[in-house]
Amino acid sequence: MMIKDSTEKIKEDTQPASQPRKFGGYNFAFLDEAAKREIRRALLKAVAIPGYQVPFASRELPIARGWGTGGLQITLSIIGPEDVLKVIDQGCDGSVNAVNIKKFVSSVTNVSTTTDTTEATIIQTRHRIPEEEMTENQILVLQVPLPEALRTVEPSEIETRRMHAEADYSRMWLYLYEDIVKYSEISIGPRYPVMVHDRYIMDPSPIPRWDVPKLHMAESLFLFGAGREKRIYAIPPFTKVEPLEFEDVHFRMEDFSGKVCRRCGSSNSYLDEIIDDDTGVRMYVCSDTGFCDKRCR
């Protein structure tokens, strides 16, 4: 990533009002330099302690909290003029949220955008990890609604912090045990809890189970931002990330055996189910539209 020297930015921001201003009158990447610096410090700490939730002063942005402000603040803090941005929402490049975030970042940075995973240097995403394997030159920024994986079992923030500090995760395991007793398997769909670097239980954001193994020993850097909850956490490259599972009840991904994408014919990607209103016919298409389009071409 190219991150410009912050003093240069401050100079740029304090140029006389008579001169024409770039980026619609805002600082490069919208946030002021002090805000970006604070977020970068939080990111460095998050990378240093994989899976640990670092508090940060979440800023106001021109989108509502809960619509990706955490991810957006991370993107705006790390983006440089040479970066290539891709934004996806549930795998789709063309959804309203993804398009608006892409337009906004582009207007305050002038960076180029893409729908091709391999071309992008920064990918901001909600609820999916792209199908194509990412490389060490890429960063995936995930928008996180609820960063606390233990919230399901403990409502108190003080108590969850104690549980993380003491690695006291028995209640999370008990929750999984009870799930098995009730349903004969672990019924958690998205937000499947993972153990990062054998230390912290982490919420991988509401990605499907299909995407969870992609976090393990990945070449790319994963950054997680929760704007509403004011938390940042990270998985650095080549970090051990394992879904919670028992010795005799294993983690299972969604099963798409026998189903293929109607558009590209892929049988090895996460598929969305579509039901034709008129005929009632069920069909499947790739959730990752960029991947699907590329295969169709």
Binding site: E166, Y177, E178, E247, D248
Partner: protein, 309 residues
């Protein structure tokens, strides 16, 4: 000479800011445990006793005498104002046999802790009341079991009975569902709970059954020390008798050291070998249970014994 398992010295708990005269202005001599100088409540003060391996020690006294406070302090539920608690390392025949049992062992040497990530700390000679919260939790998980008067304190009512037991096993790094369920069935069978009700939450159970699930949960990690805090209070007489029989049998079978807190002298007579009599946060008499009940020396103990129905 048998060495003690647990050695408690000068255990004190004061609710309130406390002052230098709290100790001298409260107790049986003043017939109060509220300090007349600062208004603090001295729940227990300068309590010292020893618990021997395989012994059942009773603590008896009226309401507010500090019996349950002692259990809560020794089980690390509350922090003591001052005092010390020491463990003496014992070699027990059960140490050798349970080595491969998923990391759960009955001894408590440093070796015993090493498998649980508790870090290296010396148990022998260290004051357990001064341990970090993390180490206290480890001690509670692997060394102690507790059965409260109120099952709502000891059980999670929205989790199945088997799950309540599994929680303690999970704390000891068990990660095999089938093994956990088989251990839970074994314990429920031992505590006379129908195994087919293992997946029901304890809120569906009667009071006596809930107490027995608590006992099963407390025993799941094969503790060395068991605390029983008014376990039979609120149960009808026939259920009381069954619970007491169960405790006595399990104690013999597992060679547990037990501290029984009760205001019921019948329970104390039936279960314990030695008894501490408490009043206003102080121990007023200590002795063999038979001796205490047949030949009480302290005036308060005499009243207590003579007031039995």
């Amino acid at each position: 000479m048998i060495s003690s398992l647990l050695n408690v010295k000068g255990l004190t708990k004061i609710f309130g800011k406390g002052c230098s005269r709290c100790h001298e202005s409260t107790g049986p001599a003043f017939e109060t445990n509220v300090c007349s100088h600062c208004g603090s409540v001295v729940a227990c003060s300068d309590i010292s006793f020893e618990l021997y391996p395989g012994e059942i020690l009773g603590i008896v006294g009226e309401s507010g005498s500090g019996k349950s406070t002692i259990v809560k302090l020794l089980h690390f539920d509350w922090d003591a104002t001052s005092g010390e608690m020491h463990l003496t390392e014992q070699s027990s025949p059960s140490d050798a046999g349970d080595g491969g049992d998923k990391g759960i062992q009955c001894g408590f040497s440093n070796k015993w802790f090493s498998g649980f990530g508790a870090g290296l700390f010396e148990l022998n000679g260290s004051n357990l009341l001064a341990l970090s919260p993390y180490h206290k939790r480890q001690m509670r998980n692997f060394l102690m079991g507790v059965v409260y008067q109120n099952p709502y304190l000891g059980l999670k009512m929205d989790v199945s009975a088997g799950g309540n037991i599994a929680e303690r096993l999970i704390m000891a790094n068990w990660r095999n569902v089938e093994s956990m369920r088989s251990r839970a069935s074994e314990l429920l069978l031992k505590t006379e709970i129908p195994v087919e009700r293992m997946d029901e939450p304890p809120r569906n159970f009667s009071g006596g059954m809930q107490q027995r699930v608590q006992i099963a949960k407390a025993l799941s990690n094969k503790p060395r020390i068991l605390f029983l805090d008014e376990v039979t209070t609120g149960l009808d007489v026939s259920v009381q008798a069954r619970v007491l029989d169960l405790i006595a049998n399990l104690q013999r079978e597992l060679h547990l050291s037990v501290i029984v807190v009760s205001h019921d002298l019948g329970v104390i007579r039936l279960l314990t070998q030695r008894t501490l009599v408490m009043k206003y946060g102080r121990i007023v008499e200590v002795g063999l249970t038979d001796q205490i009940l047949e030949d009480p020396q302290h005036p308060y103990t005499q009243i207590l014994v003579s007031s039995q129905l």
